[in-house]
Amino acid sequence: METDSMNSTTIPERMNIDRTRWSYLDCVLKKGGPFTDPEAVFGDGVISRIESAKILVIGAGGLGCEILKNLALSGFKDIHVIDMDTIDVSNLNRQFLFRESDVGKSKAECAAAFVERRVKGVKITPYNCKIQDKDESFYSQFSLVVSGLDSIEARRWINAMLVDMVDAEDPESLKPIIDGGTEGFKGQARVILPTISACYECQLDMHVPRQAVPLCTLATIPRQPQHCIEWAHIIAWEEHRKGTVLDTDDPEHVTWLYQKALTRAEEFNIIGVTYSLTQGVVKNIIPAIASTNAIIAASCSNEALKIMTGCNPFMDNYMQYSGDSGIYTYTFNFAKKDDCPVCGNLARDMQVNPKLTLEDFIASLSERAESQLKKPSIRKAGKSLYMQFPASLEEQTRPNLMKKMSELVEDGEEIAVADAALSIPFRYIIRYS
């Protein structure tokens, strides 16, 4: 339409003063209410603040699609979105910015283009890459980060990055993080003010890792259909198809695993191996529905609007949501931990069995709720106990793996644990039990 092209090209945004479209939103931006901070100022200043704020959305999946829509309809005009994924057909039951014809395309690019088309005047910049591909200079341009991720690892990375970026001398360096997550009918939303309130790492034990099934169970004494599937996944594939990289999105590969698992299950009289279960186990599928994403994403966007405009107080600081049985929310202040390895300044106590070998101790770090580190290297003051890299150091420190913890570390001594996935080492004080 003619009027459209005129709007977007010739008239600079700031002069476009017709706010009729934003009448509903402006009600809460133009004046304060009974619950707003009495010091807060409302009106054009607030409106121009939200219009000029650069805001980063991490993830353009189930939560991300909703968040982009919500932010665009909350008056944000300069939104950036980062996601490395491409669209899969199983996304279509909730990621409403995508159509069947979009399968295979970049999520970030597709989502950005759709919202730009639908909501006039909003600019959405997509980045089709991993968050780890960007550095501090990239993240420092934003005033606020909203994350809708499905990976704990990515959350820990961005959390550590934004905590690390805080410079006490420069208030602009503090970027609030609003994080959402869902599983089935449940979810949570949280507001993190890096170095001021509890960070993601402080709250890590809210997400207890799934206990891995011991290898010997898979290899010799399977009892559950899952054990047969994991056996096919971890052991049988290596044995029969070594050299072929397993692609859990390839139906031929999944079918192969399914049939191997089925045969094994029959051998042990185990029932319940299905194609769907095979897929669920090997891809670690978490059930996801549109409605839960809508709830959590809207809660995150609502907090973003409140933080950026002060139109009402923002959440302090964590909301758990459950819709399985009735609807239940629990909103509370999650306390910041002084011994948080990311935002605290004290080393954290860790109870350890002194008879454990260093190798078993390292393995236990991936299962402990408070560490969840997959490939850690361990040092103590002036000495490397075990280093994953470089190869020469790995070789030198490898003999330590067989030694008992008590031979290597004194009771009460501090160790530093570094993991390739995270930028800063974690500090623990070993306490023998």
């Binding site: 009729t20 909730r94 004494i221 609502n302």
Partner: protein, 565 residues
């Protein structure tokens, strides 16, 4: 055991296109739930800015709800474009229902959608509402009489109705279910569903445990470390009883019993302990409880529909009656038959598992024959499917019955149903015990005040097609809300200080409502649309447990509360 037979592999039966698209939700509600969704027809009676209803539909169209119909009298105006995502520039001046319908249908080619441009009053007068599976009514309807009429019709038709407000930072969702709404597939948390009967083992289980653990002390370290903890506990319970006059007291002996079990774990082996004993000690607390009949089920057994089954009774009630007969005979529920994973050899675990399965099957057969006898006595010709009886038996402890109640459209006129004034005062004044924040109930009172003020404004300017604009333009709008709120508190007829504080808080909420337009904020409507869609899915699939019956959300505190009114 038959050796694996070498045959040509079966034809690859991967998931269908539909199963692929809906994979992430089928893992929650399964093919049955999906089927129920696909055959349903949702009616949205839209009003106001109309965002919350459309956001709800988005969350229902995506998972494949069969059909929806939007009734909306409005024409798209510029303000709509800043708050409703399912409208575009070219929608201006067109029917809002039609445009939303068109853009919603883009989300899922398998869904059908219709739109009707009429006022709610007009539509309700001339339509047969019985063709819809569920109705969503969005406030402010303008006329409280029309809202009451919709509620009455749905009530008479036994049709679920959801009534919703989304105003500024607040929302309210009321669910009007039929007077009797049973749910079998409630999806309880897995750990809570374990019923292993260790304190009341049936004879085969006991005999099996005895033979398997007869020589326990003589077992090799490997075998000793692989005895399933269920058998360990059964074994040591017998031993315990031998030295305690044949008694084990759940109340007094648990701690000492666990120490007794723990003392038999071997520690002189390579691992310095035994995993199966560790598992036994962890499981002991939960596993060593006497099975009880849960209170929800007990009250079901007392319902008239259970006690006096009729030819026309729903399947549900016949099965409850059959289970009641089972309970009378055994003082126990049918065994669910599931066994958690535990350290053990494959064959031992499978043997134990099949023992539980056999017992469960045996119980189900007994309940089934009770059902069949009842069907015969009642002269019913279509037998209840075996699968339905079996599913009921396995989940008997978690079956739920909700007694739906009629909506409250205007508490000043129709009161708070069965709630006493004291309950309402309690709702109004009780602080949230976790957060120490004020109750959310005043939000509901303020929203009723908002409805009443809108209705008053509408009666003055009936020709206006934008009620909200008319209302906010009306200078006395806040006074109308205030009068209503003061009347409600007057009815509560209490002189307590708490109540006066609550009144002041409620008036502040009314000020906040006034400040917001009163209109919708996209985030709050989107969030509320998510919650309503969850409720709709739970009601239609008859899975999980819906809200009973009034939910309030506060977008300032980011908190919610449920009241039964």
């Amino acid at each position: 055991m038959a050796p694996p037979i070498a045959t040509t592999p079966p034809v690859l039966q991967g998931p269908s296109a539909k199963e692929k698209k809906y994979d992430r939700q089928l893992r929650l509600w399964g093919a049955n739930g999906q089927q129920a969704l696909e055959s349903s027809h949702i009616l949205l009676l839209n009003s106001g800015a109309g965002v919350v209803g459309v956001e709800t539909l988005k969350n229902l169209v995506l998972p494949g709800t069969g059909t929806f119909t939007i009734v909306d009298e409005a024409v798209v105006c510029e303000e709509d474009l800043g708050v409703n995502f399912f409208l575009e520039q070219s929608s201006l001046g067109k029917s809002r229902g039609e445009e939303c319908c068109r853009l919603l249908l883009e989300l899922n080619p398998e869904v059908k959608g219709f739109h009707i441009q009429k006022t709610i009053a007009d539509f309700v007068k001339r339509s047969d509402l019985s063709q819809y599976t569920l109705i969503i009514l969005v406030a402010p309807v303008g006329s409280l009489d029309v809202a009451s009429e919709v509620s009455q019709i749905a009530w008479d038709l036994r049709q679920p109705l959801i009534y919703v407000h989304s105003v500024g930072f607040y929302s309210h969702t009321s669910v009007q279910l039929p007077p009797s709404f049973p749910i079998v597939d409630t999806h309880p948390d897995p750990p809570s569903t374990q019923d292993l009967r260790l304190l009341q083992p049936w004879s085969e289980l006991l005999a099996y445990a005895k033979t398997q653990t007869a020589d326990l002390e003589a077992f090799s370290d490997h075998d000793h470390g692989h005895v399933p903890w269920i058998l360990l506990l059964l074994h040591y319970l017998e031993k315990w009883k031998e030295s305690h006059n044949g008694e084990f007291s759940v109340r007094d002996d648990k701690k000492a019993f666990r120490e007794f079990v723990g003392s038999h774990a071997r520690t002189d082996n390579a691992e310095g302990g035994e995993e199966n004993y560790d598992e036994a000690l962890t499981a002991a607390n939960r596993a060593l409880t006497l099975p009880t009949i849960p209170s929800d089920l007990k009250s079901l057994l007392l319902e008239e529909e259970c006690q006096i089954p009729r030819n026309s009774s729903a399947n549900f009630w016949l099965i409850v009656n059959a289970i009641s007969t089972f309970i009378k005979k055994h003082s126990l529920l049918p065994l669910p038959g599931t066994v958690p994973d535990m350290k053990s050899q494959s064959k031992d675990y499978i043997a134990l598992q099949s023992l539980y399965r056999q017992k469960s099957q045996q119980d189900i057969s007994e309940v089934t024959s009770n059902v069949r006898a009842l069907e015969h006595a009642l002269n019913r010709h279509i037998p209840i499917p075996d699968a339905e009886i079996s599913a009921f038996c396995k989940n008997a402890a978690f079956v739920k019955l909700i007694h739906g109640r009629k909506l409250i459209i205007n508490p000043l006129k129709h009161g708070w149903n069965d709630n006493s004034i004291t309950t309402i005062i309690e709702h109004t004044t009780t602080m949230n015990f976790v957060s120490g924040k004020p109750s959310l109930f005043p939000i509901l009172i303020a929203l009723y005040g908002f409805d009443s003020a809108i209705a008053a404004a509408a009666s003055v300017r009936p020709e206006s097609n934008n009620l909200l604009a008319a209302a906010s333009a009306s200078p006395g709008f806040f006074t109308l809300m205030e009068t209503y709120i003061r009347d409600v508190f007057g009815k509560l007829d209490s002189t307590s200080e708490d109540l006066d504080e609550a009144l002041q808080h409620t008036l502040n909420i009314a000020r906040e409502i006034q400040r917001s337009g009163p209109g919708e904020l996209h985030n709050i409507s989107s969030l509320t649309g998510g919650m309503i869609a969850q409720e709709v899915i739970k009601i239609i699939t008859k899975q999980y447990v819906p809200v009973d019956n009034c939910l309030v959300f506060d977008g300032i505190e980011s908190a919610s509360a449920v009241y039964r009114l």
